[in-house]
């Protein structure tokens, strides 16, 4: 990877997709490996060090991630000072796999895209670590928790820094493992253990797609490195590229909880709240978006796969939003909203060169405000003795003022209140969607309205309306170690939109995702923005009139419409899985087992028992009488003589 491939720049010019050809790492970039190794070492020390590290383990865990963040910042500023063409930097660490003509190096790629992810992951990750110090203070296994968090961060960094699809896959699987460990962290709860398993299994399905895509790449291009694949991508046949793209999309669906592999995300709320924040804001679910954006050179050559991305994204963004409307569990509402927001990002990524930058932009702002809200939710739960039912909240604004204020920043950002970060990013995606296809734009706009509705519902039920607290609950504000990260994130939620100032983010990402030729939406941008704001306002108003003005019952009403019931049941996502996959699978397994025992085993065992039965008969020949054996020798001798006689006579 250290040597650029000059011949291929001409190819890149034709496809409008920049070829990955990083320059040699120097200066601060030569420390890129340390970004991954720091949290990895932290994880190793915490997990292998045992009880000795109990006292300072959480501090070490936080310090390693913060160290990575500092390194990321240094690299970021160093990159800012570079020429646009020199911003891709590769570092070859060692040769990982060498088999015949197939070589995979352990290479890192630091470019404008991955550096943004590094900053998001380590930055938000540091804040979440900090927050966890307070949140997990009373958990006996806090040290292990930090070990897992570090592992998670390390895997995610591996994922975004790898310069090879196999490297991505390494991080990909690492993230899957860490998420399994963290979702099931409270493994004594059967629901948590089940949720962890569910997440793991559904991720495996995505991983199959991912690994098949990598194999297909190897078969087609003979390499799995970004540089090689991006250089050769335009030469691949469209069918192959579509196949690779669809398989990558399957992988992305698994990690990013897109329909049809969305079901694990809501259950993943069984983990501790910082984990939810980490999974939903900074890591894991963004991996899918990263993969699609990183693989832009494939998707640009795979129109069918790109359309599929858009379709999946639109379905998911509505699906998640609808689920969010019906849930009473505060974390599940946020989970539904994550699904929906990731849908927006996928939509942006699916829209091609025009949308990549906005997808990443939305990913960043979402990382800020969603982490903010998840941690805020954690703070609320902290205040109400780990109650997650919003129907038991109400009028918490005065009890937990800091949490309320910071949460409000996140809220305003997610619904797209003008000026807040979410406004800029979501608006841009919807705008691009409109430019591509009106109906996609309409769907995205409706999604924005629904988002406004359910987020307002959450705000109202949690912080306003009347007190519905459980008896004996005395809400109190969280300690500083928890509120400071909230404040930082709230500020970022508010100011994240500055990234768009002067089209900085699009310019920044151009070397990676390519130059967008500006398409004009059917209606002027300002009018579109106005429409979106109106729709959002309508959503807020509906929520205000249905929730804010009426009494919220402490128990969820059961005489509700079919739609509410469907939304409460996650739009029957689990039922669909059950009906389409699990039950047929179970029946198939039962049938196969019956077939196995009655036919295959029977055949094999039948042979065995046949042989042994025959042996039982024939072993009687071995009767121990030497004279019997001598008789058989005589018969043999007679036969030999007879044969000789016949042969010689003939």
């Amino acid at each position: 990877m250290s040597s650029p491939i000059p011949l291929l720049s001409s190819l890149a010019a034709e496809t409008h997709v920049p070829v990955v050809s990083p320059g040699t790492a120097d200066g601060v970039f030569s420390l890129a490996w340390l970004v991954i190794v720091l949290p990895l070492a932290g994880a190793a020390i915490l997990l292998l060090g045992g009880r000795r590290t109990n006292a300072w383990g959480h501090l070490l865990g936080t310090a390693t991630v913060a160290g990575s963040f500092v390194l990321g910042l240094l690299m970021f500023f160093s990159m800012l000072g570079r020429e646009v063409g020199e911003r891709q930097v590769g570092q070859h660490l060692f040769t990982w796999i060498e088999a015949g003509g197939f070589t995979v190096g352990m290479d890192l790629l630091v470019d404008p895209l991955s550096i943004l992810f590094v900053l998001l992951i380590t930055g938000v990750g540091s804040l979440i670590h900090l927050y966890s110090i307070g949140y997990m203070a009373h958990d006996e296994r806090r040290r292990r928790f930090f070990g897992y968090l570090n592992l998670f961060i390390a895997a995610m960094l591996m994922l975004v820094l790898a310069a090879d699809y196999l490297g991505i896959f390494l991080g990909w699987e690492g993230v899957g493992l860490a998420s399994y460990l963290l979702i099931g962290f409270w493994q004594h709860k059967p629901s948590a253990a089940a949720a962890a398993k569910k997440a793991f299994v559904m991720n495996r399905i995505g991983d199959i797609g991912m690994s098949l895509a990598i194999m297909l790449m190897f078969v087609t291009f003979g390499t799995t490195a970004f540089a090689g694949v991006s250089a050769a991508a335009s030469g691949g046949s469209e069918n192959t590229m579509n196949a690779i793209g669809l398989l990558l999309l399957l992988g992305a669906c698994g990690k990013s909880a897109q329909v049809p592999l969305q079901a694990w995300l809501l259950d993943a709320m069984e983990g501790p709240t910082p984990v939810s924040a980490l999974i939903h804001a900074a890591t894991m679910v963004t991996a899918g978006v990263y993969l699609v954006t990183r693989s832009n050179f494939i998707f640009e050559n795979a129109p069918v796969a790109q359309t599929a991305v858009v379709a999946v994204a639109v379905v998911t963004l509505l699906w998640g939003a609808i689920i969010g409307c019906a849930k009473d569990d505060i974390k599940k509402v946020l989970a539904g909203s994550t699904m929906s927001q990731i849908g927006y990002m996928m939509l942006g990524a699916g829209l091609g060169v025009a949308g990549y930058a906005f997808a990443i932009f939305h990913l960043l702002t979402h990382g800020f405000f969603k982490a903010n809200m998840f941690l805020g939710a954690g703070s609320v739960m902290h205040a109400t003795d780990d109650d997650v039912d919003m129907r038991h909240y109400g009028a918490l604004a005065r009890a937990v003022p800091i949490t309320f204020l910071t949460f409000a920043m996140g809220y305003l950002a997610i619904i797209g209140f003008p000026g807040f970060s979410g406004f800029w990013s979501k608006d841009k995606i919807i705008e691009t969607a409109f430019a591509d296809n009106v109906w996609i734009g309409v769907a995205a706009t409706i999604g924005a309205g629904v988002t406004a509705f359910y987020m307002t519902r959450l705000m109202l039920m949690t912080f306003f309306t009347k007190e519905r607290w459980e008896p004996g609950v005395h809400p109190h504000e969280s300690p500083k170690v928890m509120t400071i990260p909230l404040m930082v994130l709230a500020a970022l939620s508010l100011l994240g939109g500055l990234l768009l100032a002067g089209n900085w983010i699009t310019d920044w990402l151009t070397p990676v995702v390519g130059e967008a030729h500006h398409e004009h939406p059917p209606i002027p941008a300002w009018a579109l923005t106005l429409i979106i704001v109106v729709v959002v306002a309508a959503g807020v108003a509906v929520a205000w009139f249905t929730i804010g003005r009426t009494e919220v019952p402490r128990e969820a009403p059961t005489d509700v419409s079919v739609f509410t019931r469907a939304a409460r049941a996650d739009l029957y996502g689990d039922a669909i899985n059950e009906g389409l996959v699990i039950n047929p699978g179970r029946h198939a397994v039962t049938g196969l087992m019956a077939f196995d025992t009655s036919v295959i085993d029977a055949a094999v065992e039948g042979q065995a028992s046949g042989v042994s039965g025959l042996a039982m008969v024939y072993r009687k020949v071995q009767n121990g009488f030497v004279r019997s054996y001598a008789l058989s020798i005589l018969v043999g001798a007679a036969l030999v003589v007879a044969v000789m006689l016949v042969v010689n006579a003939g």
């Binding site: 072993r619 009687k620 071995q622 009767n623 121990g624 009488f625 030497v626 004279r627 001598a630 008789l631 005589l634």
Partner: protein, 99 residues
Amino acid sequence: MNTEPYILLSAILFTIGCVGVLVRRNAIVVFMCVELMLNASNLALVTFAKANGNLDGQIAAFFVMVVAAAEVVVGLAIIMTIFRTRRSASVDDASLLKY
């Protein structure tokens, strides 16, 4: 001089020895029948020596005798050992090694 009758006699004696090994149960008699078979083959060897006009056949017969002597010594010692432990010289009684 015709040597064919000698060979025929040898064959008949050999066959009788074979049947004796199969029919008799006293280990010592079985051994005798083995000796009979060896002697029958010796007769054939000596006859062939005469028929071919060289002494190789007689040498072979001589070696057969030596080997037979060694075999009888060891075989009878084995029969003695078996008899000592089992109080029986019947070949059918030593039939533990079976299915």
